[in-house]
């Protein structure tokens, strides 16, 4: 638990001092919205199109952070130190999942209002949307931390990471878009299948937290 707190604090302090990940993600998300505005040739979005644009943007922005989250550990020898220290590999995994989830939440605090303003999305759906995003973030962070620690030790890490991530994240996209679509509908939020999609997201998070917990130590061994 101590190791977990120490790694988490170290990563957050580094991020606060260097501002490497979150501002870049926010800028990326804003630019992507502009691209979608012209790519789709729409000035307002609602329903499935709004959900798709928002979630695809968050997903791609997440890839930026996921690609970077272990780079420092590898280049500055963080992996070696953790292997030498008498701590569980799982605490590194848990800390990185939390770091990624915090980055994503920070990104969404900026990106969702920008999205709502740019595309004229009503504010009524945004509160329940936050719940969807929290569960989606946990899934992104868990799978992201797992894949990132695999990819960072391979030769083509910037390539392998996204390549593994995108198919693994398809169920998150399906469930989060399914839940968000009625919330962003033109006539105000609706809750048709909301519970079912949230259950799928929660199940996904649970399964991959368990998988990560079970296999993570094998990624650190050397």
């Amino acid at each position: 638990m101590n190791a977990f707190r120490a790694i988490l604090a170290k990563d957050l302090r580094t991020e606060l001092r260097t501002l490497e990940s979150v501002p870049a993600m926010a800028l990326f998300a804003a630019t992507t919205f502009v691209l979608f505005r012209f790519g789709l040739d729409r000035t307002t979005l609602e329903g499935s199109l709004a959900a798709g644009v928002l979630l695809a943007t968050v997903l791609f922005a997440a890839i930026l952070a996921i690609n970077r989250v272990f780079v420092a550990e590898r280049e500055q020898g963080g992996f070696d130190v953790i292997r030498l220290a008498p701590v569980d590999g799982t605490s590194l995994f848990a800390a990185k999942v939390c770091v990624l989830a915090i980055y994503l939440l920070a990104l969404e605090l900026i990106a969702v209002p920008v999205f709502a303003i740019l595309f004229g999305v009503g504010a009524a759906g945004l509160a329940p949307l936050a719940a969807v995003l929290v569960l989606a973030d946990l899934g992104l962070a868990t799978v992201g931390a797992l894949v990132s620690s695999i990819a960072v030790n391979s030769r083509a890490r910037d390539l392998i990471g996204p390549l593994l991530l995108l198919p693994l994240l398809v169920p998150v996209m399906i469930a989060a878009a399914g839940a968000a679509e009625p919330l962003l509908a033109a006539g105000g939020p609706a809750y048709g299948e909301f519970g079912q999609w949230m259950a799928i997201l929660a199940l996904y998070d649970l399964v991959f937290v368990a998988v990560g917990y079970a296999v993570y130590d094998f990624l650190l061994e050397d």
Binding site: S154, L163, L164, P171
Partner: protein, 246 residues
Amino acid sequence: MSFKAPRILPALTVVTLAAGFILVFYFAPNDADQGFIQKIFYLHVPLAVCALVGFMVAAVQAILHLRSGDPGWDARSYVSIHISVILGVAVLITGSIWARASWGKWFVWDEPTLVSFLIVFLLYCTYYPLRYAIEDRERQARYASVFAITAGAFVPLNFLAVRLAESLVHPRVFATADGGLTPKMTVTFLVCLAGMALLWQTLVRFELAAKSTRARLARLRRALDQDAVAGGSRIAPVPRRASGAG
């Protein structure tokens, strides 16, 4: 790690598959609805079942590899995924042909099984670039096993999510694949399924044998080279190419 090529298994596979296809064409009745084209079902569905079961088998073998550290299990897991991906290509091709014949399109997005299979197939295709991007042998095996386990957990989740996504848009009867089969069709299907499972196993065994033979050959070559360099042997230093021919 040493695997031998199977002897009886290939013959059994040929007999079962041949019997299966004889049943398909001379015993099973034509489908009342779809006619002759429905017979591709006896090829397509067993292929898909074997590929998916193969992925799950690979995940179990990967768990055994991580628990025991035995590189043989990693080799088995790798070959299971490899053969299943090859069957996966055949699944997508036969599925496309079937979709074209019965729905008029090569790919149908509201057929959840087809879409889920495509996603799973794309995921397992990334196994190869991942594996070969890691140079250290031992680490490669460990990371590949972690991937195989993660992907194995992903397969059922993905089927669940895709099925729910489609069933909302297009209400469908949750009939199982053999829900509307007559007894004759069921028998034929089961024989085809058994034949395909045997084919999967045969291919896996041959690939494993080929891999272990290649590894042994490389070891022998290295030993020979070392002998020649040490000069302790009476064999004259043999050029690499000549030793391969002999």
